[in-house]
Symmetry: C2
Subunit: 154 residues, 2 copies
């Protein structure tokens, strides 16, 4: 851990997401946090693989966190594969068997159960990929040139 990364105070779910992001990168995927596929839905992690495959990972820090999520079935239709990321204390039996399972902490993660692939239709994949491209580029610009958020507007 660098001091720099230690400075950030993350919520439990965000800690898992960080570890998941590191693993996804090591698998050749490009992860993006807190992404909204469509209005009203927001997923913890979305990633794009080298062949354009789209994965979604929801991070659950506790049983209560999982039970209170009433939207997750709506995420399935926005990805080729869907995963839960949980820590070692999580009661895995709660999770539906057809979904993916990732064991994570804030430093890394590993895939415990790979879910079957449900391929997105081309039009939806294109829409998702475009949205991911736009959101990540705009966030990156906001970091590199914070002034861009207000400047340049006519």
């Amino acid at each position: 851990m660098s001091l720099r990364a230690n400075h950030q105070k993350l919520m439990p779910g965000q800690e898992l997401a960080r570890g998941v992001g590191r693993m996804l990168r090591s698998l050749g995927h490009s992860p993006l946090m807190e992404f909204s596929p469509v209005k009203g839905l927001r997923v913890d992690v979305v990633s794009v693989g080298t062949k354009g495959e789209i994965w979604i990972v929801e991070c659950k820090s506790s049983r209560a966190d999982f039970i209170s999520d009433r939207k997750w079935q709506g995420y399935l239709e926005w990805c080729d594969r869907y995963f839960w990321a949980v820590d070692t204390d999580f009661p895995d039996d709660l999770l539906p068997g057809h979904t993916g399972l990732i064991r994570a902490d804030s430093y890394g993660a590993e895939i415990v159960r790979m879910p079957a692939e449900t391929r997105l239709a081309a039009a939806r994949r294109n829409k998702m990929t475009r949205r991911i491209a736009r959101v990540s580029s705009l966030r990156l610009q906001a970091v590199i040139d914070p002034e861009s958020l207000s400047a340049g507007e006519a």
Copy 2:
């Protein structure tokens, strides 16, 4: 200008690119700097519009900078519209009339001449969009979690 942005020491071409990026954002485009559409080519700015349209902007800080660029015609086939971004001292007559022209400085920019659109084929647009999504997400992750560059690898 915030102090934060002032800390960065930019090259002349990068200063133009920053202004261009701000303008693109204000037009609803998401800009990404120093992007390689394909091995051996690197463009100063690429952007994705709300409808998925892809623009490329090359920033030229001087006549010599333009004259020494022997690759720019290779950029045309990777975008729907191609622009030059130059400062007020640049001899505009050097630039081909069918290309776009943007007047820029490090704080902002404006489009002087909008080029005709040459629509990308769907397969190439998808490839570009995917590559932009992956590059920008990975760069963003590297900023937010620098440790991700080495961590998580088995």
